[in-house]
Symmetry: D2
Subunit: 337 residues, 4 copies
């Protein structure tokens, strides 16, 4: 790592999320997109075109470079554990998309394997960097609403992913709710109990996959905080991402984001807002940039990345507990993680 | 006037506004609706039915009653001056709908005729009693936004009155804007300059009547306050009644009133509110009740009615000045009223 | 019951809620407040003063009157079952405040005792008559948001009742949540599963009473609907009463109610609204009036009262199930109602 | 101009607005910041550092470069006319900040001098590119609210510029209102009448400079449209930039912009929003980027720049007319532009 030039970054994955990271790396003054790796080499080449980055096929091609400073792991979930391990072995900073793995045992094994390794490692819970949620977290932490007592998270996707995706998604808790479970931990890090209920109310192929299309999760924190998470795989009015923190001295909430402040008043309705930003690429565009910037700064300053590997692990454990609860009808207690 | 029984009230006029007053008098614990007067005696009888009130035809029938305590004048504008004069002569408290008269000379003659008379006399500028506008006026008067510098009033009717009404209305300034001119004086009592611009943009029969369907008025107060009034005779989204007071230390505004707090979120729009309350009967229902209560209390306590006759006169003078300005293209200066 | 005169009503209880009913009965054109019964006869006398009502001490004094048409039961919870039974025996219509009883066995016995009795009997779940919530329920029932999938209810009192009240309240589920459980049933009548979690986060004397100060309840409806209820016994920003209905084609929600539409913009914050209406007497003033009117109309028309006795029973069963779930950490299944 | 490389741009002025343009040019994929010109060469050097741009002192140094494609004129107002003329002479595209000049005669002479010149020339009325106002303009133009009838513009700076700036500003109409006059023309291009009123209500040194600190302007369009502009040189709650377009079939408005959607609910106020974005650099950051992009695209496509030189001229004529009206108390008619 050189203090005199931008950090050289390799990006794994040239899909939707890889494209977001590629653009953000290109725009970041302290990062240089040097390699894009994808076994589907055409994807890597297309994305690399005009950026100066070199398209490569394999992880070996990436880690062979002595001047590699950092990797962004945006490849399929099944590759995460291996790439994290490789990065840590090579002492290369890594930012890995969630989840660590759908299999908690692989995630735990990875944890054991990298124990003690001080190389910067960040988990891509991008919503922590959303300006709205981040502002609330800061204000709560600063005591603006006293002691936090209740947290309400509503998170609905605009429409369900295709059947093929659903089947390999790990289920709604590990695929969708995991973001909200991490958000819950952003405010209430120490969760001791999980309860969840799931329903199938609108999507046949989700039901056929043995998954739920709608869930509600209740969490209890060590200090008695009560958290509710409401998820749906669809939303007629677009991506619904809201949060409300209730404390002993007040409440802070964040509503959905519209592209403009324009409102319409007509014979059929008044004060009508724009459609919300359609999905995560738009809604969390700034969050992805802030996340990357935080990663770059952590590398430069040598401070710990946050959220880190353990946050990824805890979110996964909560997702698994939610699944277990929804299947058993019982509270699941969380150990002294 | 007896302290042991409710005040005996006679109502002039059994039309739309008379019906509002009749209901409010009936519900007021300190008022008794004793007579309803209308030359169209069937209207008076219908309204009186079941109220205990006696339907009469003429003012003589009303003022002949020794136990009459107060009159509410909701009859046509052309009768206002005579009824005010009669009430004052008989020492009977009066609440008269705006305007005093369309003819400023008749209004001035009435002023001279009743000069020195201490009988309670109130002008029906009901909007001063709207909870929203009244709250702002109180908070401004209490200094919450420092010194008042600018006032923005937007006031649009849902749809123009019929051609016949327009022709005898006295014109938009004396008929519609007069409410807003009084509202301006509620905040800035001492107006020194008036400018107005009028347009015909949507209604042929208003143009044929030599009247405007859309106007903008600028007022300057003695302390440099700038007031804008925007009026239209129609509004596709319903009755539009808003006010914004800007001061050296902040701003207070009141938006339109919806029947509920419900909002709709759908594929075609988000955060959509209910249609606004349709017109003045609904929008100012509470204002009419508060106005009547203020009138009753002023009678009982012997304090001056507000707004009073002079407020009616000043609003009329401003309306005339606005008309003159719109016709001449020049500022009209207001004398030391 | 006479068609020619208002219905003669007796009111049980002269406390806070009795006073609300007394005023509303007095203002209702088809109801006459004839008797006010309270063993604390001074309370009854004070409330009766100036209304024309007769203050009496006992239920016998009330039911002895042959011209009695209806009773409003606003006396302590422990008296509800007996007064309902007496009213039904005498064929006198009754509107009873919630809950029927804190003891489900007494409530069930009452149900058995009055089985088959066709006398109008209404349960005082006033919130069903709140214009905001009622509008949403109507619009959902009309299909405006498609099929209902998720319902989010947030309901927080401004401050906890005193310790003495808490001790005899029956606990937060039967005392506070019961309103929200009925609201859930207003939208999702057929609940099949209940889960609840409770916490003690701010109030020592509630904890000492073995009660929770904060709870979250999850309900599942027969068609997979998921309902969350979030309750707290306090709220720094006042009475918090919100509801959000999410359906396959959109969402409808109702926010809190402010006394005016005024907003403040200053150096320390922008778009600041008034404090919310402080507590249920103000927030639900219109709901109480609408409820009474619905009761009067049901008596006159001979149609069934809604909500009725069974609604009171079901809400109590759900409250008990919630308590059981919060104590056991397990879902409680609800029988076939 | 080469199709194979970004356009080579020279920036005049290294002050506040120059810095905005420098950053935006640097981030634009089709623009290359090649020269920064400022007689205060240190400013140019500081801004050029690390950008690859060459700092130069004079216009000659800029226009001597054969590969120059475009200039951005962000230098003092007095230099605008000369730099526009030079650019047009050299056939170099120019984007010039408003106003063209404070002296209408110089502006008119410039117009005559460049008549017939087809080189792209854009005026920097950045607010036309604000996403909120641009969205309204598009929707109005698409007929969403029918025929435009009234336009309400409220525009208040957070605090007055220093006395020295005020003295050479050309006065509030040419310095501040000119943006709003152009915004009026964005919606109503053909203005036929101007009326203005000015006041001095809070700032002594503005009054001493013979200028107003608060003004209201009324415009009439050829089709009877009525426009009001309300300006103040200060605002306790921050930069206040709002617009409301009222048409025959509805209304569209844009409110102020907060950094987040977060709202605070506490004992002292509810629904409190963040402070607004403080001033034009933040509020119109996106507008500046969009403006630059529009300029680049116009150059590449050979289409006319909008807003163009004539828009700058018309806004200046309206500002002069407003000044004249405020001094004379009369409407000023605008010629057939």
């Amino acid at each position: 790592m050189s203090a005199n030039r931008p950090l050289k970054v390799a990006l794994f994955g040239s899909g939707r999320i890889g494209q977001v990271h590629a653009r953000n790396i290109a725009e970041h003054p302290d990062l240089e997109l040097a390699w894009i790796a994808d076994p589907f080499i055409e994807g890597a080449r297309t994305l690399a075109a005009g950026t100066g980055a070199v398209a490569v096929e394999s992880a070996e091609d990436v880690f062979a470079n002595a001047d590699l400073d950092a990797v962004i792991i945006g490849s399929p979930t099944s590759t995460h554990v291996d790439l994290i391990s490789l990065a840590m072995e090579h002492g290369v900073a890594a930012l890995c998309e969630k989840p660590i793995d759908l299999d908690i045992d692989r995630a735990l094994a990875c944890r054991d394997a990298i124990k003690g390794n001080k190389t910067p490692l960040m988990l891509g819970f991008n919503r922590r960097f959303d300006p709205n949620f981040a502002a609330i977290q800061l204000r709560v932490a600063a005591g603006e609403i006293g002691r936090l007592e209740q947290l309400t998270i509503i998170s609905r996707d605009p429409a369900p992913a295709p059947a093929a995706y659903i089947q390999s998604s790990g289920g709604i808790f590990r695929d969708q709710s995991i973001h909200d479970l991490d958000m819950a931990r952003f405010f209430v890090p120490d969760i001791i109990e999980v309860f969840a209920a799931g329903s199938n109310v609108f999507c046949d192929y989700i039901e056929e996959a043995g998954d739920f299309d709608s869930v509600v999760i209740t969490l209890k924190g060590r200090n008695g905080e009560l958290v509710t998470i409401t998820n749906s795989r669809h939303s007629a009015y677009g991506y619904d991402q809201r949060l409300e923190a209730f404390g002993s001295e007040g409440m802070l909430n964040a509503s959905n984001v519209s592209p403009t402040t324009v409102r319409k008043y007509g014979a059929k309705g008044t004060e009508e807002s724009d459609a919300y930003l359609p999905f995560f690429l738009e809604r969390y565009a700034e969050a992805y940039r802030n996340e990357l910037d935080s990663f770059a700064k952590a590398i430069r300053s040598g401070t710990a990345c946050s959220p880190g590997f353990d946050d990824g692990l805890q979110a996964l454990l909560l997702a698994n507990a939610a699944e277990e609860s929804a299947r058993s009808g019982r509270i699941v207690k969380i150990g002294q993680g």
